[in-house]
């Protein structure tokens, strides 16, 4: 058989047979309404859901204030706390004990108690201490909120001691945010979810395409035809890759035109990297299908595999925040390289010189998974 392929005639029939198979697969895919819906609906749904639901914003925290001083200075201080929308003032119950009870029950996120001698101690330059109670259950929010309180106090102290809110300090850090100056959390989540959806759809679709032939028994019929297993595999992968590229375009369209995520990099580079990610996804799906006996099993195993793949990819939470051990585990996650590429190309607008390591890793995953899955698939056929 292999010798035959090398002859000119064999080569031609190989091409023709593969073409015929590809057109069969393509027709089968395009007839599958459920699949087409998944290709379109999944990205729209997921991107919308994730970008609306997830937001690390620290604002409108519920603050209770007990002002025992009730002086002009203390009122000015309270006014400053709520000026930039980090805190909203809520009912504190009137006393320090009711305030702390409310923080304890989770009705308030933060509480501030201003002592009665606030004004006097400031005037006499001895310095006053305000008590700040913060609900620490949400460690991340509490950390950022206490940073804000420190900055508000710093500005307030400046006002008190120099008469101006922003006195010229001897070291002035001029902080600017690169890539995402408005700190839009959507810009973080949408590229990640775009990558995640592509991975999900490509594994699901490819495992379904293989399992379906297994379940209905048409795989045996295919084997009786003169095509070999390599051709079957090529015919499975090529049309899926074409259809999944459509998914990439749809996701990109939604991201750029509906959610206004900037696309600063090179489109061709993006498409090339996406193609690699698709091949990884398809190979993963085929391997899943090859190991499973039926559709239920393949679904459950894909659930099992996708859970860590998504969680460790950095699509939803940054990989740098993970503990060291899990950062090492995350190196084995093919999706993390694609997520890194998508974010770098879209938001940073960098080229291959910045992401070549990720691209190389993705390429390695694509080759290894493709070879492994096709070997497994061919063994099953023979």
């Amino acid at each position: 058989m292999i010798g035959m392929i090398n002859t000119p005639l064999g080569n031609r029939s190989f091409k023709m047979q593969t073409k015929a198979l590809i057109s069969k697969e393509l027709r089968q895919i395009l007839r599958d309404k459920e699949l087409l819906i998944m290709l379109v609906v999944m990205p729209v749904m997921q991107i919308t859901l994730y970008s609306l639901a997830l937001s690390p914003e620290v604002e409108h925290l519920q603050l209770g204030v007990i002002d025992y001083a009730s002086s002009p200075t203390s009122r000015e201080f309270v006014a400053r706390l709520v000026r930039n929308q980090v805190f909203d003032i809520f009912d504190s119950g009137g006393s320090a004990s009711t305030l702390s009870q409310k923080v304890k029950d989770g009705q308030l996120d933060a509480g501030i108690i201003i002592p009665p001698d606030f004004e006097r101690r400031i005037k006499s330059e001895r310095g006053a201490t305000v008590q700040v109670l913060l609900d620490g259950v949400d460690a991340n929010t509490a950390g950022i909120a206490s940073g804000y309180i420190a900055q508000i106090l710093q500005a307030f102290n400046s006002q008190l001691s120099t008469g101006t809110q922003n006195p010229k300090e001897l070291i002035e850090p001029m902080v600017s945010y690169a890539y995402n100056p408005g700190l839009e959390s959507k810009w973080f989540f949408v590229p990640g979810v775009l990558a995640m959806v592509l991975n999900l759809v490509s594994t699901l679709v490819s495992s379904a395409a293989v399992i379906r032939e297994k379940d209905t028994g048409t795989l045996e019929q295919l084997l009786m035809t003169p095509v070999n297993s390599l051709q079957i595999l090529i015919a499975k992968i090529v049309p899926l890759a074409i259809v999944l590229m459509m998914n990439v375009f749809i996701s990109l369209f939604i991201a750029v035109f509906i959610y206004h995520i900037p696309f600063r990099g090179n489109l061709l580079l993006f498409l090339g990297v996406s193609l690699l990610a698709i091949i990884v996804g398809i190979s993963l799906g085929i391997s899943l299908a090859a190991f499973a006996a039926n559709q239920r099993q393949s679904l459950l195993t894909s659930f099992f595999v996708n859970l860590p793949v998504i969680q460790l990819s950095g699509a939803l939470t940054p990989i740098e925040s993970m503990p060291d051990f899990w950062q090492k585990v995350a190196l084995l996650d093919p999706l993390r390289y694609y997520v890194a590429c998508v974010k770098a190309i879209m938001l940073k607008g960098v080229g291959i010189e910045a992401i070549w390591k990720d691209v190389l890793a993705l390429l390695a995953f694509a080759v290894v998974l493709l070879v492994a899955s096709s070997m497994r698939f061919r063994r099953q056929l023979q």
Binding site: D105, G147, T162, Y177, R296, E320, F325
Partner: protein, 367 residues
């Protein structure tokens, strides 16, 4: 009642026999818990920051060592002059440029500007980095006696419940809510859809067993299994994440029971709506997973969820259980302040269970 019990024991026997499902029921939740509990962290700890120091004086050296002193920021190195390069290449999350004459300007009391560029692709940590650099700068100014600002008002910040700001105390109790939602309902939905796929449901249609009885039997069986799952998962995470029971135990148990009943009823409902096991699993996995992960407040506070999804989040049972779990393991709230949780979960259970029974009864008539 006898018929319900018979249903229940049949279901339990079937569950025990299926090794794959047993593994799915106990192994997968533990693995998932470990993964989510350990790997979901919002705030970065060792943030790589590059410093380009054009100054040769004492102040700049001291300033840089103060920046790295508290361990949150770690040094990153790169070659070249362009400050965007380390950010572009991803080797640093922030870049600080100290101008020439920095020390001299400080000595002359004219003041020096330090340029700080923060990679804001990760919005949350961009804020963390900015706060950290500003706080360190102020600390440095105070320490060196350079500041004109006198600290007349000092905060005495008390972080309640979690003074060390350990994120595991936030994530792990929340993850309990996510997984005690997903896995029990996955099992119960498989139970219904298996009967449908294998056609054994026709026997149920033909028998005198009523739809609520049929459903109650399944509910009871999977409730018992759910309890063992919960016991395993809670025990496992207590050891793994060093959670302590600080809340009201009766309250927590009541919420747990109501929540498990909700989860199983949701699975029954999904199973009755779909016709094949794979469709049922897909329905439960996608809707259950996305709602409990995104709308329960597991990662970020629920008040950050935008319109119109915030209304949807009000009816997601996982949201209430995440609350109850955090109350019990971290906050230590008392019984009376949490009554709304029991109320909400019970209401959700009644709605889900009657929905599932109704659906089953409709089909019974059709058959």
């Amino acid at each position: 009642m006898r018929r319900v019990l018979a249903q229940c024991s049949k279901e339990l026997a079937q569950f025990r026999r299926d090794k794959l499902t047993v593994a799915l029921a106990y192994l997968l939740p533990c693995v998932a818990m470990m993964l989510y509990g350990f790997a979901t962290r919002l705030e970065a700890k060792n943030i790589a920051v590059a410093v380009k120091n054009y100054d040769v004086g004492r102040y700049s050296r001291e300033y840089v060592s103060t920046l790295y002193a508290n361990g949150q920021l770690t040094p990153a190195y790169w070659k070249g002059r362009d400050v965007m390069t380390p950010l572009d290449l991803g080797v640093a999350k922030a870049c600080i440029v100290i101008p020439p004459e920095f020390s001299r300007k400080i000595k002359q009391r004219t003041g020096a500007e330090v340029q700080v560029i923060v990679d804001a692709t990760d919005v949350n940590n961009a804020r963390v980095i900015k706060n950290s650099i500003l706080a360190t700068t102020n600390y440095f100014l105070q320490k060196e006696g350079l500041s004109q600002v006198r600290p007349l008002v000092r905060p005495s910040i008390r972080l309640w419940f979690n003074p060390g700001r350990k994120e595991s105390l936030y994530i792990a109790p929340g993850a309990l809510g996510v997984f005690l939602w997903i896995f029990p309902c996955l099992l119960s939905t498989l139970a219904i859809s298996r009967e449908k796929e294998q056609g054994t449901i026709l026997q149920v249609y033909a028998s005198s067993l009523t739809a609520p009885e049929f459903m109650a039997g399944k509910l009871l069986a999977y409730f018992l299994i759910g309890l063992t799952q919960a016991a395993l998962l809670i025990g496992f995470s207590t050891i793994l994440f060093q959670l302590k029971y600080v809340g009201n135990l009766p309250m927590f148990l009541l919420s747990l029971f109501a929540f498990l009943a909700c989860s199983i009823s949701f699975g029954l409902l999904a199973g009755s709506r779909t016709n094949s096991q794979s469709a049922a699993v897909q329905l439960v996995a996608t809707t259950g997973f996305t709602t409990s992960l995104l709308l329960s407040g597991f990662m970020y506070p629920t008040r950050n969820i935008q319109v119109p999804l915030n209304y949807l989040s009000e009816i997601v049972p996982a949201r209430y259980f995440v609350e109850a779990s955090r109350n019990f393991f971290v906050r230590g709230s008392d019984f009376s302040s949490q009554l709304y949780i029991i109320f909400a979960l019970s209401l959700a259970f009644v709605v889900l269970f009657t929905g599932a029974s109704r659906l089953m009864r409709r089909m019974q008539l059709k058959a």
